[in-house]
Amino acid sequence: MIQLSFLKTIDKKYLIIIGLFIFFTLVLVLSTSIQNQKTQTNLPTPTPTPVLATQKQPMTNDLNQVPTEFYETVNKINQNLKITVQDDFPQIDSKIGF
């Protein structure tokens, strides 16, 4: 049994305010969740984008299909291909003193 005797010590006025706060919070949460469900069901079904064979990039999963003897080499190249070189030449004022 939950001991609710402590509630008797709280002023009724405050109990009503707390009760109303909990009630409205629940109403807000429920209405938001119903609204979200409605929006999701109304969304149009996405049409699949055609992918040209020449544009196909190897996916991470595809690399797992590479024969074992080549996997390590292919994986290393894949990592090296992703390296980007920083080009951060600083912007300075070269005309100071003129």
Partner: protein, 240 residues
């Protein structure tokens, strides 16, 4: 805790030069320099002129130190892929080293300027050298990227050779196409480097070749990705 810090330092991206301490100091002084210039343009008194002259010296000093620090960071990066083009890369490293020494001397002399004609001479000397600094810095950036891409291309060529001799890959129809792509990549990388030796000075203005070089580098990157993609597809097909 230390391990966590070490792991995080590996994962998190390295700060760019724009976030460096030296560049920050220059920006700070430059901001004050702009303010003092505006004040001096309004009042044009002896005290505002003196204040402007002092902050100009500080700004020049921190500008040269920021540039020196940038060239140093560039020089430290270059050896990473130097094996792709050892001689050309070494030449740039040496050039960057010389410019660093020049900038260091210039930074010190900025603090000893004491008259407007001195400042004028200093500015003229710097603007001429700055053309060389830009040329060296942008050439180094291009060389560094060319080196990195050349090493990836070498790896792809090696992979293609391995596939060529592999008994599990019977059909070799793909080879001419892969070799053609490899040649195209080499051509793009050469063209990118050629841009760096084109005439850069035009009436004391730097004619930046970087955008053109970068275009070739981007095309090379696309071809590298295509070559990798095609080789991977051939390998996957050979398994099925």
């Amino acid at each position: 805790m230390l391990i966590l810090f070490f792991v995080l330092s590996l994962i998190l991206p390295q700060p760019s030069f724009a976030q460096s301490q030296e560049y920050f100091k220059y920006q700070e002084n430059y901001q004050i320099f702009i303010e003092k210039t505006n004040v001096n343009n309004t009042y044009h008194s002896i005290s505002t002129q003196k204040e402007l002259f002092e902050i100009t010296k500080k700004t020049l000093n921190t500008r040269e130190l920021a540039l020196k620090s940038y060239l140093n960071s560039l020089k430290t990066r270059l050896p990473q892929y130097q094996s792709a083009n050892p001689e050309a890369t070494q030449k740039l490293i040496d050039q960057l080293q010389q410019l660093e020494v020049w900038l260091d001397q210039k930074a010190q002399s900025a603090l000893t300027l004491n008259s407007d004609p001195d400042l004028k001479n200093y500015a003229l000397e710097f603007s001429t050298k700055y053309l060389e600094i830009q040329q060296a810095a942008y050439s180094s950036l291009v060389q560094h990227e060319v080196n990195q891409k050349t090493l990836v291309l070498n790896e792809l060529d090696t992979l293609a050779q391995l596939m060529k001799t592999s008994p599990s890959i019977k059909n070799q129809d793909w080879l001419p196409d892969i070799e053609a792509t490899s040649s195209q990549i080499k051509a793009k990388l050469s063209e990118s480097l050629l841009e760096t030796v084109s005439p850069q000075y035009n009436h004391q203005e730097f004619n930046s070749f970087y955008a053109d070089s970068k275009e070739y580098l981007n095309e090379a990157q696309q071809l590298l990705t295509k070559m990798f993609s095609n080789l991977t597809i051939i390998l996957i097909k050979s398994k099925s």
